[in-house]
Symmetry: C2
Subunit: 127 residues, 2 copies
DNA sequence: GCTCATCTACGAATATATTCGTACACGAAT
DNA sequence: ATTCGTGTACGAATATATTCGTAGATGAGC
């Protein structure tokens, strides 16, 4: 069990975490290149952010030759859960269901997606 | 149709909007009292925030005696939708379903809640 | 009219997040 | 050994969000 308190990554930090979660671990350059696909951002900006994240304990790193390889230190599901929870409280008066319905209503979900959710609910009910 | 662009309320602004959405409209005092239930905050802080929100067009107001009565000017569903969408993009790689499953998984939903979601999905499938 | 409680206006301090320039380290290629 | 491309470190500017103190307006009750 890793030490996780009440960490609240910022929006930018989340974007970086998301890359790391997908890749497992990555260099600043790799993360930067991913981010650059979606928005304009300077390399040193990404670098600085990742250094801050190291400071906060959101990531760890390890030297590899001349570069550093970063690894996420916060759990994806747990972090996402905390953020969702917060959102559910401030916007949906504590009702996850209300949020889910909002999300499903606003989003054009495919039949396959809906079926998957239904299956998921079935399994969850049985537990 | 009200004019709504790419407004991005802050966390604090959302808390206020949420009160207004529930009440329809309210004075600063009323909003403040609601917020004070959940966290410590000064009256003038709430006041200032609501003035800023007026500036941004998130709310409108109308004089009533010596006080102002504020009314939300952004649509609840639309605003929530925008925020969810943003979240879905940055954290769930664009998949609403992924987010829904995360929300349901992390949150202790009651059986009744799960049933309601199921019903909702059923209706949605038929359309 | 005077006082008191309550209201708005708004500047300004503080906190937090984001961005980037500049300096310097290092290794590979010439 | 010099140069060049690529790396990190980090201060500092800027942007954004939050908080609150203080000043002055206003109306109710005396």
């Amino acid at each position: 069990m890793s030490a996780q308190q009440h960490i609240k990554p910022t929006e930018s930090e989340l974007e970086i975490l998301n890359v790391l979660w997908q890749q497992g671990s990555a260099t600043v350059r790799e993360v930067h290149e991913k981010l650059a696909l979606k928005k304009e951002v300077g390399y040193t900006t990404t670098l600085k952010l990742m250094q801050i994240m190291l400071d906060k304990g959101l990531v760890s790193r390890e030297v590899s030759g001349k570069t550093h390889v970063y690894t996420p230190e916060v759990d994806k599901e747990k972090t996402q859960g905390q953020i969702m929870q917060r959102m559910i409280e401030t916007m949906f008066n504590g009702s996850a269901m209300q949020m889910v319905m909002q999300a499903l209503g606003n989003h054009k979900a495919t039949k396959a997606e809906l079926d998957m959710i239904r299956d998921y609910l079935d399994k969850k009910s049985k537990k």
